[in-house]
Amino acid sequence: MSNMTETSNTTDTTTTLTERNERKNELPRNAAEVTTTATRRRKPLIVVRSMWSHTEGRFALIVMAVWLAVSLISLIWTPYSLLATDGYHVWAKPSAAHILGTDGTGADVLSWLMAGSRTNLLIVILTIACAAAFGLLLVAAMVSRHSALAGASVVAVDALISIPTVLLALILAVPLGASIMVIVVACGFGYGLNLARVARPQALLAARSAYVEAALWSGASSLRVFVGHVLPNIMPVMLVQLSLSAGTAVLAESGLTYLGIGVPSGVPSWGHSLATSVKFINVYPLTVLWPGLIVTVVVIALNLLGDALGDAADPLANTQLRVVSKRAGTNPAGDKGSAA
């Protein structure tokens, strides 16, 4: 048995026990609630602050902020209207009028990229939500104590994971046409399966541990066991996996749009800008540089964000978080720290 999992299980169990005891006996009800809400409010702040203190985390946060800001700005302003085409000045080189040049219809590349950022933001958010919900559902089913359900879901995951995202998207694109929903559903589905599969070994170990047995013996519901014991165990894996998925979703957008089954024509997106310039890379290689560069930088940032988040939100790694937790009375890793 791995000591990693065992230790974290111990801490989890003690945490819940302490919390329950404190609420019941030691502190007046109100006071307890005040401290926990305060902790809840302060935790994200601390996480962000500790992310900020890393160069990588800072880079990720800045890129995310710029992405968000550009998406918002593009709603009210872009240098040119998206519909402003100029057939006499197609594939123009960067100039004062068009900072990043123009595309094959003579439209301003910068404006399209700015507007594209909001489409991509939307796609990423929807995809991640889809993947997380679907993935957790599957994990819960796979580690379920109903062996028929568990067996069936394991096979279902194994079977479905063999269907590549692109194929699923190809089939989905038939009734839906090229659409954002194709990307969201295909990717959400695929990444959910991946999440489930990657998280399964850990979840299984946690779900079959002596501590869960104990919790079940003491009458905890299976939902409670899942949320209280299994979820914390797969949380780090999940965060990393979801952040990777967010990045992959941006990448998938460009791929699927290139294949003509992603973002529909006329809707700005980075993949759209990339795909339209691909055909002319021999003659106008510069145009293909920008969307590719943006996608790369954003995906890097999303990956770094996941790492930083994983580190900063993990009480084992983040001492500051431990201090706060201790002060607030909820002590996730304090035991381990003091023991060491």
Binding site: S50, S53, H54, L83, A84, T85, D86, G87, Y88, V90, W91, G104, T105, G106, A107, V174, G177, A178, G260, P264, S265, G266, H272, T276, V278, K279, F280, I281, N282, V283, D311, A312, L316, A317, N318, T319, Q320, K336, G337, A340
Partner: protein, 543 residues
């Protein structure tokens, strides 16, 4: 950074606090064999990659010398085309890619057409028709053979056409007026009798309906082809390539000048341009005009030429549709489209086209002045129809993805100025066929109608345009029944003008195919080469 160190402090703490129990020690040592195996795997992987790369580099040298030797011999020309045939079954499968590669090269028709779209002799060396235009007599060449050695006789000709009609092969409907086809082997003639006169008959016979097949040959028409042309199909890889070899049994005057012609289908424009640049192909047809710039600039090594063609980019309006049945809306759209700008953005060699008949077809007349670019007029018409920029008209444009997204974006931008909110759906061709062509469920549609002599589309109210004008139908019927070409051309021109005035569609431009080849290539057809590509004259001398 402090958090990180914290984490590792933790690890170290665990490490130091770990027990040194003897039994645990032995357990810890046992897995030593494992990691070594892993290292071996990694090393093996690296070695394999090393070998692969070494192989590849040596292999490349070999392949380079190979191509060099074949090029010096001038016995092979490699041609890059774009749209690939999925099979070779010219009697059953639609698609101009099959016509392009097989007609005139592998199969020959009773008659053929030249680069100006005029009918010229092929299997038949001459022909005449009766004054009423109901009987055509074709005199065939002597001593003709198929590539398998079989004799080509009048019997084969009549059989081929009769089979087409009997089995309703592709394009059989264009011979609806044929009453009978009879062969006279002794006189070496074929006689076609019609129910009604048809001025299009000869031209029709230059295409698939006139092709002559070997009555006695048995072969899989999807992957093989046996005809009487200067070339035979040596190898066919669906969607990828065709290798043509000179037909040793060829009977006629179009003897192949190059022994082997390899046709590669390069669907990706970039791949195509790179193939020409790197010498993998010697000719590229078509080349996207915007991509031809480097070749145009390098005139010492390349020739770039645009040829005339019958490709009409038709922006069809659903004349039976709810919103587009309003003539004012259709006219407004025609006034609002800036054709010059569209053509300029594509490189500038396409030709403006104001009506349904392109310059290489009978009945052509310049109609571009009927609907000049005029935003004010367009806006006024839209206002009459009850729309404005504040109260825009919602329309959708559905077209197949093979035409790229640019045209849709440009049209959306141009029509927005007159208060049309255009939603562009770029779909697969099969979806377009289903939704637009078959079910007629669309507002606007964009297709490159590359067929020649296709005016009948405007005289058929059941065609997907839904255009129904009795005058046009009458004029067309008269033109078809005409017995002289002049009469036919004049009637067609009249009909075309009526059609254009009615604005059932807008003709964005007449696409002219740009072809590029390296210096040393001769005899490659430039006109009409996307539907008609006789290759017998092509030669290549490496410079």
């Amino acid at each position: 950074m402090s958090e990180h160190t914290g984490a590792y402090d933790n690890t170290d703490a665990t490490t130091t606090s770990a027990s040194t129990d003897a039994s645990l020690e032995s357990r810890a040592k046992t897995p030593q064999r494992g990691p070594k195996r892993w290292l071996w795997v990694i090393i093996a992987a690296i070695v394999v990659i090393g070998i692969v790369i070494a192989l590849a580099i040596t292999g490349r040298k070999g392949s380079d010398t190979n191509t060099a030797s074949t090029n010096n011999a001038d016995s092979t020309v490699t041609i890059g085309l774009k749209l690939a045939p999925t099979n070779l079954d010219i009697r059953n499968t639609a698609g101009s890619a099959i016509d392009q590669i097989l007609i005139g090269n592998v199969y020959e028709g009773l008659v053929a057409r030249d680069e100006n779209n005029q009918v010229v002799p092929a299997i038949a060396k001459s022909w005449e028709h009766s004054a009423d235009g109901l009987t055509y007599t074709f005199h065939l060449n002597e001593n003709m053979t198929f590539s398998n050695g079989d004799k080509l006789t009048a019997e084969d000709v009549a059989w081929s056409i009769n089979q087409l009609i009997k089995n309703q092969y592709h394009d059989a409907d264009s011979l609806n007026m044929v009453k009978s086809v009879a062969a006279d082997d002794d006189a070496n003639t074929v006689t076609i009798t019609l129910n009604t006169a048809n001025s299009n008959l000869l031209w029709t016979l230059t295409g698939r309906p006139g092709l002559v097949f070997d009555k006695d040959a048995k072969y899989d028409a999807k992957t093989e082809a046996i005809g009487s042309g200067p070339y035979t199909v040596a190898k066919f890889v669906a969607n990828d390539s065709i290798t043509l070899k000179a037909n040793a049994n060829y009977w006629g005057s179009h003897k192949a000048k190059t022994a082997t012609i390899i046709v590669r289908y390069l669907a990706d424009d970039n791949a195509a341009v790179n193939a020409l640049k790197s010498g993998d192909v010697q000719v590229l047809a078509p080349i996207t005009e915007n991509l031809a710039e480097p070749f145009t600039a390098d005139s010492a090594h390349y020739t770039v030429k645009a040829g005339d063609d019958t490709d009409k980019y038709v922006l069809a309006f659903n004349n039976a549709g709810e919103k587009t049945s309003d003539k004012r809306v259709r006219q407004a759209i025609r006034y609002a489209i800036n054709h010059k700008e569209l053509i300029a953005s594509r490189g500038g060699s396409d030709k403006a086209l104001g009506g349904p008949i392109p310059s290489l077809d009978p009945g052509y007349e310049d109609l571009t002045n009927l609907y000049p670019y005029d935003l004010d007029k367009a806006k006024a018409l839209m206002a009459q129809a009850g729309y404005s920029e504040d109260k825009p008209l919602q329309l959708s444009l559905t077209y197949a993805n093979i035409y790229g997204t640019e045209l849709g974006d440009q049209l959306r931008s141009q029509l927005q100025k007159i208060g049309i909110d255009l939603k562009v759906n770029v779909v697969e061709f099969s979806t377009w066929l289903q939704d637009v062509y078959t079910n007629k469920d669309y507002d606007l549609s964009l297709v490159d109608h590359n067929e020649s002599h296709d005016f009948y589309q405007w005289a058929d109210p059941t065609y997907y345009y839904g255009y129904d004008n009795k005058d046009v139908q009458d004029l067309y019927a008269k033109a078809i029944a005409a017995t002289s070409d002049e009469e036919r051309d004049q009637l067609l021109a009249q009909a075309a003008k009526v059609v254009s005035e009615d604005a059932p569609a807008d003709w964005l431009f007449n696409y002219r195919v740009t072809t590029a080849w390296v210096k040393g290539v001769n005899g490659f057809p430039v006109n009409l080469n996307q539907t008609l590509l006789p290759l017998y004259n092509v030669t290549y001398t490496k410079q």
